[in-house]
């Protein structure tokens, strides 16, 4: 079996030029007065590991909710695989199963077993009536067990979700998302509360799954260092605005937003930021 390694997925040449996500001048608000996001432009290539970094309340989570159709923008256009995300739209509803979403709180069903939590990812593929009786086809159960092994939870399939540790819960949430056979993975600060070692184990797991399944991962982070370690591109959000977008290649950091900042300047900026 392929070893899971901590790698810096840095090769720009591996990325397809096909855009999977496009946001043009997107504005959104919760209360029609204050904007949570202001004029966001974003273009993400298929297969990218894209990180969104910012402080609490900067609008990072809102951005993910716009991408999975849970929120709709007040202004501007969003295309996810050429479809406008909106949970009430039939066309988008058909492709929702291809977007794995892991909220910050993970959204596990605490009173059911690990395997049942994972199998939820297969629900859109199943016969609606059969699924009412929790009857899962043999191939789906096999697939769930395969993913369970992939995320390192073999033998814990019958544990109730609330019995798991923080790291294990994150693995279950990732497994549920992978069970969807997604093309896009949206993850909202899923490692922010973990210790350094566990956080990197979880990030390695996602990096590995991303390579295996050619996923486009869009991950919200609090920690710039972690984002630089794993992402190809990093967008920095501050007060609802994208203030910087950088690409990472080896030790070189490229300013994609304006093209004006040098690697040293960007590094210095984040050194200053982290001291604040």
């Amino acid at each position: 079996m392929k070893q899971i390694q901590m790698t810096k997925n840095s090769s720009f040449s591996l990325i397809s030029t096909k855009k999977i996500i496009q946001m043009n001048d997107v504005w959104t608000s919760y209360d029609s007065k204050n904007f949570a996001l202001e004029g966001i432009n974003m273009s993400i290539d298929r297969g990218t590991n894209y990180a969104i970094v910012g402080q609490s309340g900067s609008g990072k989570s809102t951005l993910l909710k716009l991408l999975n159709g849970m929120m709709i923008p007040s202004k501007g256009t969003i295309k996810v695989d050429y479809v406008t995300p909106n949970m009430n739209d039939k066309k988008f509803k058909k492709m929702m199963h291809t977007i794995g979403y892991i909220p910050q709180s993970l959204g596990l069903i605490k009173n059911v077993t690990v395997i049942e939590n994972i199998l939820i990812g297969a629900l859109p593929r199943l016969n609606k009536i059969q699924s009412m009786f929790k009857k899962f086809p043999e191939n789906e159960i096999k697939e769930a067990k395969r993913i369970l092994k992939l995320v390192g939870l073999s033998g814990k399939e019958n544990r109730k979700a609330y019995m798991l540790s923080g790291g294990e819960k994150r693995r279950v949430a990732i497994a549920r998302a992978l069970m969807q056979k997604p093309t896009i993975l949206l993850a909202d600060e899923i490692v922010s509360e973990l210790d350094h070692v566990t956080a990197r184990e979880i990030m390695d797991l996602i990096a590995d799954a991303q390579k295996r399944m050619n996923l486009t991962a869009i991950m919200v982070h609090h920690d710039m260092q972690l984002a630089l370690e794993y992402a190809n591109r990093v967008a920095v959000i501050k007060d609802g605005q994208k203030i910087l977008e950088i690409g990472v290649e080896g030790d070189t950091i490229v300013d994609f937003q304006t093209g004006n900042m040098t690697t040293e300047e960007i590094k210095e900026m984040y050194a200053n930021d982290s001291q604040k």
């Binding site: 199963h97 979403y101 959204g107 069903i109 939820i120 629900l123 699924s131 609330y162």
Partner: protein, 261 residues
């Protein structure tokens, strides 16, 4: 004590006096009536043990009535609670269902029992129907309130996968609110056993039918046997409920490992 507090207390006392006068609440009559209570207690203490088997059988009938009423009532209340939850439906669905449930709750079980005695005649079946109606009204309300307090994150996470509404209910709403439902079922069964004991007063079967008849004919000793059986049964049910609650509800709600021994 501030002057404001004194005024409030004064108003409460004044209202108490006025209300007591209006309902003929006379403490003197109460004191004068105490010897009558003593007579009743004295007669009740002459327990007639030969009625114990009849009392146990009547209690068994009462428990069965409460059991059917609770199970059927909960089975009907559950889908209604799903339709009445604001986080699962739009107002055109939940508003009429809530109005219906409020109307059902307006009548206490004894009024439902009178209505069903008229409909289906005297006997336990009328009592069962009354208990079902009462259970529907209350469990549906408690359950839709429980559903509305479910953590929105699992709902959002699973909705975003693109599941159907019924799949969302089956895989998120029911498991997430199951401990509340079990708690409500236990409470309702406990309550229904006590309620069913009273429904006999209007001829709707159960142990209450015996109690009211013995009291009517001043046979307090016999009535005492039946009342004692009700008391013991309610205490046992209460004890069992606490055990079940401790084992399956409290622990799971607090995220503790449920004992498997």
């Amino acid at each position: 004590m501030t002057p404001k507090n004194n005024i409030v207390i004064g108003i409460i006392i004044a209202l108490l006096v006025v209300a007591s006068y209006n309902v003929d609440a006379n403490p003197v009559e109460f004191v004068e009536g105490l010897p009558n209570l003593a007579i009743v207690i004295e007669e009740m203490l002459v327990v007639e043990p030969k009625y114990i088997p009849t009392a146990i059988w009547a209690m068994f009938e009462t428990i069965q009535m409460a059991f059917i009423g609770t199970v059927v009532g909960v089975a009907i209340a559950l889908p209604l609670s799903m339709l009445a939850a604001r986080n699962l439906n739009n107002k055109y669905v939940y508003a009429p269902i809530r109005a219906l449930l409020a109307a059902i709750r307006t009548f206490p079980s004894i009024l439902w029992a009178i209505l069903f005695v008229i409909m289906v005649g005297l006997g336990p079946f009328a009592g069962v129907l009354a208990i079902i109606m009462y259970t529907i009204g209350f469990v549906a309300k408690l359950q839709y309130e429980a559903i509305e307090t479910i953590d929105s994150d699992p709902m959002d996470a699973v909705s975003s996968i693109g599941v159907s509404k019924w799949q969302l209910i089956r895989y998120v709403v029911i498991p997430e609110s199951a401990s509340h439902l079990l708690s409500q079922m236990l409470y309702m069964f406990d309550y229904n056993v006590r309620q069913t004991s009273i429904l006999g007063l209007v001829g709707a079967g159960g142990i209450g039918f015996y109690i009211i008849n013995y009291i009517k004919f001043f046979e307090y000793g016999k009535a005492a046997v039946f009342m004692l059986i009700v008391l013991i049964t309610v205490l046992i049910i209460d004890w069992v409920s606490v055990k079940i609650r401790d084992k399956y509800i409290i622990k799971s709600q607090h995220g503790m490992e449920v004992a498997t021994q």
